[in-house]
Each structure stands twice: as structure tokens, then as C-alpha cells.
Amino acid sequence: MHIDLRTVTIKPLRHTFDNIARRLGADKPATRYQEGTLDMQQTANFHYRPTWDPDHQIYDASRTAIKMADWYAFKDPRQFYYGAYTMARAKQQDTAEANFDFVENRNLADTLPADVRATVLELLVPLRHVAWGSNMNNASICAYSYGTAFSQPGIYQAMDQLGIAQYLTRVGLLLGGVESLEVAKTSWMEGDAWQGLRRYVEDCMVIKDPVELFVAQNVALDGLLYPLVYETIVDDVLSAKGGTPVAMLTQFMTDWFTETKRWTDATMKTAAAESDENKAILAKWVIQWRDRAAAALLPVARIALNERTDALVAEVVQQFDARLIKSGVPL
């Protein structure tokens, strides 16, 4: 028997789950981001302590020096739950695929001026290892931070960075074949220009405080690297030299950074607004990691920028500081 149930209008008993209603202050319809995020992480009556970290509970806010009265004060401005996240990325992936096809089908790679191609292979391809490091660091942030509002974007960021590492790999394959990946890896491991950056990435891998790691990786390093490499070097400097096809191949990264920095900014803003103690800790971390990141990026930027390096890096740092100050971090 088929009954037409659409004709029935019934009054719901409630509009959302109680935990959401408590947080919204009323029983009213909630978004999928809210229902998929708020209170998703367990908070009470854990049965056993981690054998790998007996000093902490499974989820433990004391893994970080940052203190929050409520870890659900954080909100991802993109409102990413899994569905929204994958659908957004699939769309960007479509564009990226079309861009790669465009460059490949028209053999645009072969039309690149030799110095542009050399710069791309020398500068962009080793960055796949930096993205890989960020994948690991964001896995840490997701695993060891407290509250789904903070931890959830960590896994998205981790997988985005894996995706970026894979796009950069494709750039290498397209412009220089498999051997370009090997050459880039040798630079990464041994080249003078890269050792500061590699040390930075490896040092991040042993940071135990998930919020400090967030600052070192997502705020400081990415906050300087993306504007410098993708916005300044690829989109301006290389494009001016006939390297527009390169900008097509890295459009994902440019768009991605514009999007994700809204999340990093919102996160810093919320943590800083919480207390003066948080402000002081965040400022200390930002300054310390910013200075290290800027120093590590200098020799890398020099590959493309030559004598303009110092000026352009200084400019990027200045913009970075303005961003952080706007988020309420006293620098």
C-alpha cells in the first residue's frame, strides 16, 4: 500500500537535539554544521588513560597552554562539515582538472620560457614535501586538540595539504617528468636553500601542544609561504615573464589559501579574545614562529626573486602582521 505522506502536516516534538538547543539557547532548527560539530567529541567518564600518554585523558584540554571556558566558542566560518567540505573541494578539483587539461592539451608547458620552467622545478616542486609535513602536523592537530569545533578542520586541512602535495607532484611530472621529483627531493634533503625550511618543518613535527602547532604550521608558515610563493612569485613575477600556465596549475593553492585563512583568522581571534593570558601566549608563539618562518623562506624565495627577495619578503611579513593584529593578537 502506498500512502501519500506528504499530505500530512504534523507538529514536531522538538526541532533539534538537546545539546544543540542548550547551546543555541532555544529549541530551534539547527544547521548541519552545528549538528555535525557541537559536542561530537566525548567529554566525560573516560574508561582508561591512553597507554601512549598516561598523563592525559583520551581528549584533554590540558594538552595545550591555551585555556578556553568553552572549546565550542570556535567556529569555522566556512561551516565545513564533511559533506560541505568534500563538495567544495570536488568543485575546486573540477577547476583544477580543467586547468591541467588545458595546459596539457595545448602543450603550454612546452611554451614556457626556460627560466620560468627552471624556477618552477627548483622552487615549486620541493614544496610538495612542505605540504606533506603540513599533512602530518594537521593530523596531530586533529588527533590531540580538544573539542570538535577546533579539531575537525584539522583533518580537512591535513587532507587539503596532501592534495596540494599531489598537485605539486603533478606539476613536476608535467614539466619535468619523474626525475624532476628526484631532483627536487635532493634539493629538499641537501640543497642549502632548503635546509632552514626543512628544519622548521621537522621541528614542528615534535611540537606537543596542538594550538602551538596550529600557530607554527597554519598561521606562521602557511601565512607567509602562500602569499609569498603563490600570490607574489607565481601570480605576479612568473606571470609577468610568460608563466601564466603555471598560475593555472596552482590556482587551487591560491584559492585554497584565500579560503582557509578565514578559518585560521577566526580561530586566532576567538582564542585571543578569550583572555589576556591567551593573547600573550599566542603573541609569543606568533612572533617566534613568524621570525623563524620568514628566515627559512628567504633563501627559497631568492630562487625566483633574486635581488628583490628582501623587499618582497618584508612586505609579506608586514601584511602578515596586519592580519594577526586584526585578529586581536598583540604583536
Binding site: Y59, Q152, E202
Partner: protein, 517 residues
């Protein structure tokens, strides 16, 4: 650089290799043991992470593409389900109790799996397993969220689910699934992979999902069926990861065998005990039955698991010993479990009931050796008593097994008339167990299991009353206070299905669709 580099198209395996392990490097500014600090304490020896074979070779671009397609389809179905009052299409309102059990017992575990795989996916020094684990971590948050989103619509119209996160961390029987996953995530990364990746995903997940999801399909619940099958579509990747992990560990060093065998023994039993909830759901809670618990066990464990263990025999792995006891219990498990929940229906967030005549006939046919002899008389007696107005609610708290945390209601292997009790003295205290297997698990790691947050002990210690409760006042009602602590609304969330608000509302709403009122 030579402009004419031959850009031959890489095959799937080579391409995947440059896209994952090619990204990794051996660190020199920090020590391996500082970057991967949890790699040695479990005693597992790995000599060459490059021997890892990637089963599914999915790069992020393909991942986003396929997963987005799944999500689009899923949410289209959920939206339609919500708009069309799809919940009124289910066979009868008793079915909805399986959804309550699922969202409060299982969905929170998907979330723990998400965090656990993020942890494992950070800690393994091999790029291959790390990427596979992180992808699984991402999938698991998907499962947690799609389940919450699918159940959100049921929550609008039916009781028992309204504060399921709160319940999961507190309610007596929910400590069974919770402690299971807490146990896994607090173990070392290798044991986590064997417990969840292998034992749960490969050996037991079919028993959880296929009956639950087919059950939803049989009972007209398109929403649950869709999220269930959609989640399962990620499962093939997870199962393969679990199997590859086992093979990889065993191939790396012969010393790993006894450790892995012990983990498989432990986690098959731990997982099986959690599946008690599924057994009773299949045999009692689905108005339209798919297959019996016993049949599901025979197909998915005895036959399919048998094939798996035969395949692993070349590494020296044997079928877990507990399989023998499980085989003896398969005629009894669901009946003993349902009887327990029938007893404790005052303290649960879902309704129970006595099966009707047809359902009893089905149970007799599926369990010819046990149902009529041991369980039917009991249920007929309850039915009689309920008809006289004496619906029995047990308000005495049961003793729990220290390991699996299930009330001690299971019978001796081979003697369904005698409750099975085991005990161990450890440092001044006595600990109780439902079985030899739970006892053995405790004895191997007593310092872990003495930590267990046993709901009944906690209630007796006064830790499960709302803040400010004074248990010494005259007329103090401990059960009412515990239900407050659980955020259960007594009279709406609990008790028998017969006479429940769910039953009344469902009938009234269905009536509106079929009659002119």
C-alpha cells in the same frame, strides 16, 4: 633540463607511489623516535615500512570527486525523506527503537574512530599506512555526521534520542560500546589497527552494518538505509586497510605473531560482546526480520571469517579460541540480551516489548534448539503478567563484567540454565567477569581494566545523580535521580512500547495520512 622528457603515463601503482611515499623523507633535524614516539612500546618490530602494499590507491583528487558524489546522493535522499515524512513509512513504530540504539550506541563510536585514525595516521613512520589511516579518519567523521544528520529527523518526532551525546558518556548499557572504543584508542597504535582496522572492520563490521542496514531496507526506512549503505561504501577501503595491516605486521618479524594473535583473540571477543546489541536488534527489534542473529553469525563469521583465518594460517594465525564459545552462545545470545533490556526498560532510552505470537513462531523456527525450551515460557509469563497490569520492571542494579561491562546475565557455555560468573582477586579488590575470555583479557592488563568506569559502581558511589542531589533525604528515589543525570524523561523515553507516546503519535500521524479526519 631536457625539454623532450618522455612523459609516459604512469600506471596506477607507480603514480600512487610518487603521490604518497615519494613525498616522505627521513628526517635529520629531529630524531625518528621523537617524531614517531609510540612505535616501539608495544613490542611490534617493523624493519622496512616500504614493504607496505597499498591496497586502494586513491589520490585526493579522486577521493574528493567520488566522496562528493556520494554525499550529494545521500543528502538528496535525506532531504526528500524529511520533506515527505518518510518516518511514517516504516513498518511500525517499534522499528524506531533500533535507530535510538544506533545513534546513542554506535554513532559516537564513529567519532572516536575518526580521532583514533587521525592519531594512528600521524604516528606510523610509513607513508602508505599513514595516508590510508588519515583517509579513514576523514571517512569516519563522515559516518558520525551523516548518522547524526539522518537521525535528526527522527529526533524531531520520537523520544529517546534527544540528548544522545550526553547519554553515551553516562548511561549504564552505553558504557559497553563506549568502553570498547575507549579501550581501542587508549591502546598503542598497532593494537588500535588490529582492534578496529582488522578485528572490527574486517571481521565484525559486516555483522553490524549488513543486518542493520538491510533491516532498515526491509522496514521501509529509506533514510537509514541510505546513510548505512553510503557509509558501507567506504568500508571496503577500511577492510582492506585492516587486512593489509595484519599481513604487513606478520611479514615483518616472526616475533610479532604471538602479540598479534593475542590482540586478535582479545578484540574478536570484545567486538562480539558489543554485537550483543545487534543480535537482539535483529531477533527482536525489527518488526520485519531480515535474518536471525544466528544465521548472520554463520554466514559472516563462521563462513567468511573462517575463510579469512584459513588464509592467514600461512602466517601462523589461528581462529580465535573464543569462536568455540560464541558458537555455543549463538542459540542464546539475543534472547538473554532482550530479556535483560525487557527487565531494565525503566532505565533505558528505548522501549521494549514482548514479541507477538507471529514473532514467537519465527523465533521458534529460527532457534529450534533453544527458544521454546528456555525463552518462550519466560516471555509468555511476562505477557500474561503485563496483561494483568503487572508489567515487570527490575529496579535493582545488576553486577557488571569488569571487562565488557555487560550485566552478568550470560549463561555457562553449554548450560543455558546457569549464570556464568568468574572472579579475580587483584590488589585488595575482587573483580567480576561474565566469561573466561573477559577474565583473561583483564588478567593480561589488570592495570588498564581496573580503571573502568563501571556505571553501576558509579551509581552506588553516588556519582550519577544531578549536582546538588541529597541522597539522604526522606523518600529519595535513586532511579529517578539517575534518570535525571542521564537526561531521560521518565515516562516518555523509557518503559514498555505498549502505551508509549511514540506508539500513540505514530498511529495518530499514520491515521492522518490514511483517513479523512
Amino acid at each position: 633540463m631536457d625539454m623532450q622528457v618522455a612523459k609516459k603515463k604512469l600506471g596506477l601503482k607507480e603514480r600512487y607511489a610518487v603521490m604518497t611515499r615519494g613525498l616522505d623523507w627521513v628526517p635529520s633535524y629531529q630524531k625518528m623516535e621523537d617524531i614517531y614516539p609510540y612505535m616501539s612500546y608495544e613490542g611490534i618490530k617493523i624493519h622496512d615500512w616500504d614493504k607496505w602494499e597499498d591496497p586502494f590507491r586513491l589520490t585526493m583528487d579522486a577521493y574528493w570527486k567520488y566522496q562528493a558524489e556520494k554525499e550529494r546522493k545521500l543528502y538528496a535522499v535525506l532531504d526528500a525523506f524529511n520533506q515527505n515524512n518518510g518516518h511514517l513509512n516504516v513498518t511500525d513504530a517499534r522499528y524506531i527503537n533500533t535507530v535510538k540504539l544506533f545513534v546513542s550506541g554506535i554513532s559516537p563510536l564513529e567519532y572516536v574512530a575518526h580521532r583514533g585514525f587521525a592519531h594512528a595516521g600521524r604516528q606510523f613512520p610509513g607513508a602508505g599506512p599513514r595516508v590510508a589511516c588519515l583517509m579513514q579518519s576523514l571517512d569516519e567523521i563522515r559516518h558520525a555526521q551523516t548518522q547524526v544528520h539522518a537521525v535528526a529527523n527522527y529526533n524531531k518526532y520520537y523520544n529517546g534520542m534527544h540528548d544522545f551525546h550526553h547519554a553515551h558518556d553516562r548511561v549504564w548499557f552505553l558504557s559497553v560500546p563506549k568502553s570498547f572504543f575507549d579501550d581501542a584508542i587508549t591502546a598503542g597504535p598497532f593494537e588500535f589497527m588490529v582492534s578496529i582496522g582488522f578485528s572490527f572492520e574486517y571481521v565484525l563490521t559486516n555483522l553490524l552494518f549488513v543486518p542493520f542496514v538491510s533491516g532498515a531496507a526491509y522496514n521501509g526506512d529509506m533514510g537509514t538505509m541510505t546513510f548505512g549503505f553510503s557509509a558501507q561504501s567506504d568500508e571496503a577501503r577500511h577492510m582492506t586497510l585492516g587486512l593489509e595491516v595484519i599481513k604487513f605486521i606478520l611479514e615483518q618479524d616472526p616475533d610479532n605473531l604471538p602479540i598479534v594473535q593475542r590482540w586478535i583473540d582479545k578484540w574478536t571477543w570484545r567486538g562480539y560482546r558489543v554485537l550483543t546489541l545487534v543480535a537482539m536488534m535483529m531477533d527482536y527489534m525489527l518488526p520485519k526480520r531480515t535474518m536471525s542473529w544466528k544465521e548472520a553469525w554463520e554466514i559472516y563469521f563462521e563462513e567468511n571469517g573462517g575463510a579469512l583465518f584459513k588464509d592467514l594460517a600461512r602466517y601462523g594465525i589461528t581462529m580465535p579460541k573464543c569462536a568455540e564459545q560464541i558458537a555455543l552462545e549463538k542459540d542464546h545470545l539475543s534472547h538473554q540480551a532482550w530479556s535483560t533490556f525487557y527487565n531494565y526498560a525503566a532505565a533505558a532510552n528505548f522501549h521494549t516489548w514482548v514479541p507477538d505470537e507471529d514473532e514467537m513462531a519465527w523465533l521458534s523456527a529460527k532457534y529450534p534448539d533453544s527458544y521454546d525450551k528456555y525463552y518462550r515460557p519466560r516471555m509468555e509469563y511476562w505477557r500474561e503478567q503485563a496483561a494483568k497490569g503487572n508489567r515487570f520492571y527490575n529496579k535493582t542494579l545488576p553486577m557488571l563484567c569488569q571487562t565488557c561491562q555487560i550485566p552478568m546475565v550470560f549463561t555457562e557455555p553449554g548450560d543455558p540454565t546457569k549464570i556464568c560468573y568468574r572472579e579475580v582477586d587483584y590488589k585488595e579488590s575482587k573483580y567480576h567477569f561474565c566469561s573466561d575470555h573477559c577474565k583473561a583479557i583483564f588478567e593480561h592488563e589488570p592495570e588498564k581494566y581496573v580503571q573502568a568506569w563501571l556505571p553501576v559502581h558509579q551509581i552506588y558511589q553516588g556519582n550519577c545523580f544531578p549536582e546538588g542531589t541529597d541522597p539522604t533525604v526522606e523518600g529519595f528515589d535513586p532511579l529517578a535521580a539517575v534518570l535525571d543525570y542521564y537526561h531521560f524523561e521518565s515516562g516518555r523515553d523509557n518503559l514498555d512500547f505498549e502505551g508509549s507516546e511514540d506508539q500513540k503519535n505514530f498511529d495518530a500521524w499514520r491515521g492522518m495520512a490514511t483517513k479523512n479526519v
